[in-house]
């Protein structure tokens, strides 16, 4: 199963006609989604797609290149603040602003990639963690970034402001289409990147960096490039996030957010674009919808309320989301190290080889 017979089979976007048909149906479904969903859910889906972009980018770094980053909230913050501030002060069109902001994030990724050349494991974790905290504090201190109070995103203008070319996007549904198109492009981009020379170099570094170096992969170039590409994705995601939530402050980009990003990738499955997407969808849904009001859950909610009254505090029940996420993280590592993608592969294998 899944045997590649020649190079073109490896690089083609759709493995078979069936996959093509289902992808087209799924895309049609996504493009018509606002017709049958209430607007709160569109907001949720926007956040999910932002996280999908970020998880796909983080997966390039963690899943494909085998590095660790506990500082992706920093790149995310650079994207969010960069895009909003460039829009606000320089009045660039939105697309130019977000790409400039993402390039700044990519440059910072390159910078943090330099120490990463010599660090691994816990040392790399502390370096990236320090980077994320540093970004958060710089943004929180400098007045130009709005300080601790946070800033409001300016109107999202695709064209040039205050001219006949002005094209302002407002409302969750319009932003939805913008994000959807960007998500599709970036996901295809990530998928295709992994089929190129660069992608193969990333994977060889993950499998064994010494062997990769012996084979002629330049570690300096490709490790920093992996950080830069990953930070670019985080920057784009951050820029979009700023306009989705329309108000943000520096302390929402904290260490917990970096951890949650990492959890998305690990829960979804390392080293697969589809896995990153599944992880981002699941974790964001849990965090923003299912676990937000646990006491309203059917069956479980009442039980939890009773437990809270007996042994814990009712007001502290809001912390249940953290408990559930922690348990999911632990369970994934213990029972299914390949993540949801591993489960999906097993199911597929079972049905493909049925009845054996």
């Amino acid at each position: 199963m899944d045997m590649k017979r020649d190079y073109y089979e490896d690089i083609e976007l759709f493995k078979s006609g069936t996959v093509l048909v289902w992808t087209v149906i799924f895309l049609l479904f996504l493009f018509t989604l606002p017709l049958y969903l209430p607007s709160y859910n569109i907001y949720l889906i926007n956040i999910i797609m932002v996280n999908v972009i970020l998880a796909v980018g983080l997966n390039i770094l963690v899943g494909y290149t085998g590095q660790i980053s506990l500082g992706h909230a920093g790149f995310f913050a650079v994207g969010a603040y960069g895009t909003s501030l460039i829009r606000m002060h320089l009045h660039f069109p939105f697309l130019a602003a977000i790409i400039i902001a993402a390039l700044i994030a990519a440059f910072l990724g390159f910078i943090i990639g330099l120490p990463a050349l010599r660090l691994e494991g816990p040392y790399l974790a502390i370096a990236t963690l320090g980077f994320g905290l540093t970004i958060m504090h710089i943004i929180g201190r400098w007045e130009i970034f709005g300080g601790r109070m946070g800033i409001t995103a300016p109107p999202l203008d695709l064209g040039i402001q205050n001219s006949s070319l002005s094209f302002v996007i407002k409302g969750d549904v319009q932003i939805y289409y913008l994000i959807l198109i960007m998500t599709i492009l970036l996901v295809i981009g990530a998928r295709n990147l992994m089929k190129t020379r660069v992608g193969r170099a990333f994977m060889s570094i993950r499998d064994d960096d010494i062997a990769a170096e012996v084979m002629g992969v330049n570690l300096t170039i490709f490790k920093t490039m992996s950080f830069a590409v990953s930070a670019f994705y985080a920057g784009i995601a951050g820029g979009l996030y700023g306009f989705v939530v329309s108000f943000f402050d520096p302390f929402s980009f904290n260490l917990i957010l970096s951890i949650i990003f990492l959890v998305m990738v690990v829960v979804g499955g390392l080293g697969s674009v589809l896995g990153a997407i599944m992880g981002a969808v699941l974790i964001t849904y849990l965090q923003f919808d299912l676990l937000k009001n646990v006491e309203n859950l059917p069956y479980l909610g009442g039980l939890l309320l009773a437990i809270s009254k007996q042994w814990f505090t009712v007001i502290g029940l809001a912390n249940f989301g953290g408990i559930a996420l922690g348990l999911i993280m632990i369970a994934i590592v213990i029972f299914e190290p390949l993540g949801m993608f591993g489960i999906w592969i097993r199911i597929k294998k079972y049905w493909k080889t049925w009845p054996f």
Binding site: L133, V263, I323, I334
Partner: protein, 290 residues
């Protein structure tokens, strides 16, 4: 002024060092970086708080009870979460301990809520004792120095002379060889986690006496202690304490000069230092071989 800053920096640095030792012990034996360490200490401190303020028992009962709780908690986390994981990767272990961190933080928030509490500790930051004429230190500082020195000496003797300590070092060097030599590796891990949790709980109580008690209060100290441990080189216990002292002094002096950058100066220094010396200041950097 200079002496004040230096002594305060040394005291807080010793506290970071002590907590960093807790991280280092686990890393030394099992190559796991325990991101849940801070929350384990936080949980133990909350237990002490519960015993003292809610049940109204005196400190000398609450203190040993808390230490026993800390040991049990450490062993339980090792037994429930780390032991069942089959050959996890570095990233897998990171996710495991981060998961334990979020779990403990959620449990503490559920039980005690998010509001900040004062932790009634035996040693106060405000009461000073004059050691010799003209030179006074507060109780907390003296306590930290005494505790750190005692723990250091005990750990040194433990790892140098006791059978269990040697077994731990053997386990760190080669798990399989240690197994063949008759060391019960799993039991060694369990004891390591208990020991580390105990030291972490001691340091956490000192941190709580200095600041306030809430479910997030150990996050910042943990990151600093971890940074100190990385600075000293994770596998060398004296190195970790010296790393903590360096970090404490640097942070205090920079904090005096530029108060607004105090929270991050430590990390900038650490990133610069580990870029130059990738395995910390006090350990030999082994180049990986194929």
């Amino acid at each position: 002024m200079f002496e004040m800053l230096l002594i305060e920096g040394l005291a807080i640095g010793a506290c970071y060092g002590l907590f960093g030792v807790a991280v280092a012990i686990i890393y030394k034996t099992s190559d796991v970086v325990n991101f849940a360490q801070g929350e384990m200490g936080m949980m133990s401190t909350f237990v002490a708080y519960q015993i003292m303020t809610v049940y109204g028992w005196p400190f000398y009962i609450a203190f040993p009870a808390t230490l026993i709780f800390a040991i049990v908690l450490g062993m339980a986390i090792e037994f429930c979460f780390l032991r069942p994981a089959k050959e996890p990767t570095v990233l897998g272990l990171l996710i495991l301990t981060l998961g334990a961190e979020m779990l403990l933080m959620g449990l503490a928030g559920w039980k005690w809520g998010a509001e900040q509490k004062d932790f009634p500790f035996l040693l106060s930051v405000h009461d000073t004792i004059e050691i010799f004429p003209g030179f006074a230190l507060n109780e907390w500082t003296i306590g930290v120095f005494v505790l750190t020195s005692v723990v250091m000496v005990l750990l040194f003797l433990f790892f140098r002379y006791s059978k269990l300590g040697i077994a731990m070092r053997a386990t760190q060097q080669n798990e399989n060889a240690a197994k063949i030599m008759g060391i019960k590796v799993e039991r060694v891990f369990s004891i390591t986690w208990g020991m580390s949790s105990l030291i972490g709980a001691l340091a956490a109580m000192f941190f709580a006496a200095r600041s306030v008690l809430d479910p997030n209060f150990m996050m910042e100290p943990f990151m600093r202690a971890f940074a100190a441990a990385v600075l000293g080189g994770l596998t060398s216990i004296p190195g970790v304490v010296i790393g903590g002292l360096i970090l404490g002094i640097t942070e205090n002096f920079f904090g005096y000069a530029w108060p607004e950058w105090k929270p991050i100066v430590a990390f900038v220094v650490i990133i610069l230092i580990i870029t130059v010396r990738p395995s910390g200041l006090f350990t030999k950097h082994y180049v990986k071989k194929v």
